[in-house]
Symmetry: C2
Subunit: 214 residues, 2 copies
DNA sequence: AATTCTATTGAGCAGATGATCTTTAAAAGC
DNA sequence: GCTTTTAAAGATCATCTGCTCAATAGAATT
């Protein structure tokens, strides 16, 4: 109506208006910002607001993604891909290393990934939305991480109550909940998350009478 | 344009069109359906779709709620109010009963409440949206349930590592994660959730060397 | 410096969405 | 049975939203 609609603001970088990026670079820029943006406001965040944050026009987004769903797919891909390192199954089952050490190493690395603000929130948003990626990720996690972990526990367990898959999920859930509290419920971060993880692991091992040095 | 916009469908109840309800009753009907609806699709669910499910016109909703936010507030109120029974703090600290029994009783009742599909999802949606109700609920939970629980644990603990608030959160989180897996991530429900809760509690007590009969 | 190529903008459309207001008709009072 | 009251429907508005497309201008090539 007024001819002033959707004028892009200055680009944050260097405070100068930077136009005409190479397509691959611009595409990456859009996806990166979209990850932050959707993590903050949810997948129903509006493309005009995203464009404003990018300092470009809204129509530019549709030059790189045919539909908003396609952009969301790119966000999913960026966030989900490479999250589960393929060498963990091997390291978790390396019996030359004490189980406690293996667990500490795994959850030290893994928590650094999943306690990330963007991952945690997009994972939750996509879970609520019923995205199949979410369920597939958890199935995969169960198959390549938790099930092997159960097998390791079974080998070492000394108690008469045999370990069950649910016990591994309980260990995992108790740790994941640290991130949920922080990033979804916005509660303060524990002073030393790594210590809490270690205690959760020790609680788990003790329950099955597993010696820490084993 | 065509004069056919937004004609309400038949009301599900008795298959008959039921019109002109007493205001209090209609209001309750709207809130009840809104709870289900928003739990399913999120708080950005559209009022027209809600009206369709109710079998009424969209404008009727705004006859009972000035704005959509006001409706959402009513949903929050309905879902949050009375969730934390006021007599739990007392029962959790009743030392004439063994701690394991107290914990089992509490989490048996509490999990029945929080493992509810609607609660779990609306709690998560409102948490992601940053609703203050969410943080206030968790603060309250920490104050009246978890902190007293820590005190009880401290009294009975036999180990040299003193229990910390984070340990109680870990117990709680591991249990809450059962519901999250089921209702947010849509994974299958554990066969016997009560058994898993019992195991989580035993794990917790064992870690602090607390005798189950104590 | 002129030309070409194409990343980006500017303008706008069609349908959706929260909200308003007038009209209709179900039920209570007489 | 007629009147009054008001719950609910019907119509519509202003704005928002995903998306399209022609016009513009930045940069590489010649």
């Amino acid at each position: 109506m007024d001819g002033l609609t959707e004028r892009p603001a200055r680009n944050g970088e260097h405070g100068a208006t930077r136009r005409r990026l190479p397509p691959a670079e611009r595409r990456k820029q859009i996806v990166d910002e979209a990850v932050r943006f959707f993590a903050e406001v949810g997948l129903e965040g509006k493309t005009r607001e995203l464009a404003r944050r990018l300092g470009v026009t809204q129509s530019l987004i549709f030059n790189y993604f045919a539909t908003k769903d396609e952009l969301i797919d790119a966000v999913y891909e960026k966030v989900y891909i490479g999250r589960l390192s393929p060498d963990w199954p091997e390291r978790l089952t390396d019996r030359s290393v004490p189980i406690r050490e293996r667990l500490l190493a795994f959850y030290s690395e893994y928590s650094a990934l999943i306690f990330e603000w963007e991952w945690m929130r997009i994972f939750m948003f996509s879970g609520l939305a019923g995205a199949s990626l979410n369920q597939r990720y958890l199935e995969h996690l169960g198959d390549v991480i938790l099930r092997p972990l159960l097998a390791e526990t079974e080998v070492l367990a000394h108690t008469d109550t045999p370990p069950k898959m649910e016990d591994v999920w309980n260990l995992h859930g108790g740790i994941a909940y640290i991130g949920i509290r922080q990033h979804i419920y916005r509660m303060p971060e524990p002073v030393k998350p790594q210590d809490e993880i270690a205690r959760a692991i020790d609680k788990y091992l003790l329950f099955f009478g597993i010696d820490k040095e084993q």
